[in-house]
Symmetry: C2
Subunit: 314 residues, 2 copies
């Protein structure tokens, strides 16, 4: 692999299973460098068979440890596994909050495990498109399972995880009542619920609480199981892996597999359009005759924005 | 005040100094309810005399305590003070992370202090316009000083604080080196730097470090002072209040006061336009003939977005 590889050659190397090409393609996509769009365009869409597994939950719930154990469980059948860890960006550390954490120590010598961290937000302040683009690249590289782990501090991270085929929501034993879960909107996005730290007091109540809240919701073709794990010992993780695979089988059997892909692509288009408009806004503000009224304090910015957007100046 | 007050009447009551009308107007603006835009339009622009003081810094740096003490210092001259606390939204608590914290206990019986918390992000995922709109309302209500405190976890909060007339950046003694501050971009946004917990080891080094980094930067008409506080005891906060007022006087003397207002209104227009476009995107996706290609997997979402936005369908 030479340094002068063009986007099509790099895409070809990714498709051929070259791991160095994969790492480089994701770096180019993450940095938004020249050629990024061409690489994604060349690799889109990834194979339909790739299963995207989102893992989200409150900070401290043990998501990293569960991800680590889950990868081990998935590796048992010999298939490679990719992990994309999406962290909120922090202005006080100059990057992703946990970007430099040492991840997945247990798999560092396993060439069948590919791990990558990236920040959730882009330069312009919007949700970064790097994660969805990186997922296209990882799918093209042939991973049958891709775990998207988010730290779940903000709405961004929950949205990213919830865009997966299967969303695993991790809560801690004694985490609080189902009302809190309902308010947080996690009952809607979860396909599998995990009560981690099951050895702590309150685990049974948390499980019962989640189950009763889920039973109160609308009837769904898939009833999300509520499992317990003790990630530090690995207990319950094999069941979690089976539940995740069972959900994939359910999606395929019902046609929801393809439907989720279609919904996801539509949502990605909407997100990409917002990014496009965001990048055009400075020019629109510059060009609009209304801008002077706002800058001089004669017209408020929000009324002005409605007028400018309504005039189709976008 | 009756429940049937229309936006203009409510705006009039805010201008007349009615505190219940003020609280109600901000609630309407925060919820984006009917009449919100009319209230903001009626109150825009607030009086030029209002001084917006942004306070930001890493979590745990003691911003809440400093804000509390700073309000006491400002109250000494008898003028009312408003505090707007902007928190990141958490999907796991169903609202602002610290929205229900008990704030500003020391001022709860002081009618000259108005405190309000709100979330940094809006329903549609963008930076909420509630905070800048609430600031217009607070200015119209006649507060000569408005402290905007953010928890500083994310870029959003730093942006909100940095849009103030005077931005106070709070760091902790021993917080790390100047390189970290430079990476975080806080050297550029800070008008006053505060090293809090000055009684801890490393305070002098942190002060020296910040000063040398600031000295290495471009020459500016205002040299940001680096102060020390021990907020828990109140030590240094009177000096901080004087430094904040001195910065306001500097801005007025140099014409930068009006220039910051013009820049801010331009930035608010850009933000409002992004929100407008975001609200229009679902319709654009629905209407575009390219959408089917994306949904069916024939064209990647990002290439499609460039084409749609370029065609002026926004």
């Amino acid at each position: 692999m030479t340094r002068t590889l063009d986007p099509d050659d790099l895409a070809g190397a990714v498709l051929a299973g070259d791991r160095r090409a994969l790492a480089r393609a994701i770096t180019i996509v993450e940095d938004g460098r020249h050629g990024a769009d061409a690489i994604v365009a060349a690799l889109f869409p990834g194979p339909d068979a790739a299963h995207r597994i989102g893992l989200t939950g409150a900070p401290g719930a043990g998501k990293s440890t569960i991800t680590d154990r889950l990868v081990t469980a998935f590796r048992a059948d010999g298939d490679p596994v990719a992990v994309l860890a999406v962290d909120p960006s922090s202005p006080f550390s100059g990057g992703a909050v946990l970007g430099d954490r040492v991840r997945m120590q247990a798999h560092v010598d396993d060439p069948g495990v590919f791990v990558r961290s990236m920040a959730s937000r882009g330069h312009l302040g919007g949700l970064s498109s790097a994660a969805p683009k990186a997922l296209v690249v990882l799918e093209a590289a042939g991973f049958p399972r891709i775990v998207v782990e988010t730290v779940g501090v903000g709405q961004d991270e929950v949205e990213i995880a919830g865009a997966a085929d299967t969303t695993v929501v991790v809560v801690t034993a004694g985490w609080g009542d189902g009302v809190q879960a309902a308010k947080a909107g996690i009952l809607e996005i979860g396909d599998v619920f995990v009560v981690n730290k099951a050895d702590r007091p309150g685990a049974d109540e948390t499980v019962a609480d989640l189950r009763s809240m889920l039973a109160m919701g609308p009837e769904r073709p898939w009833t999300p199981p509520v499992l317990t794990t003790t990630a530090t010992s690995g207990e319950g993780v094999a069941d979690l892996a089976r539940a995740v695979d069972a959900h994939a089988a359910h999606l395929r059997a019902t046609g929801a597999w393809e439907e989720r892909r279609r919904d996801r692509r539509r949502a990605e288009l909407a997100g990409a359009l917002v990014d496009e408009y965001r990048s055009l806004v400075a020019g629109v503000v510059e060009a609009s005759p209304i801008t002077a009224d706002v800058v001089d304090g004669r017209l408020d910015p929000w009324t002005a924005a409605v007028r400018i957007a309504g005039a189709g100046d976008g």
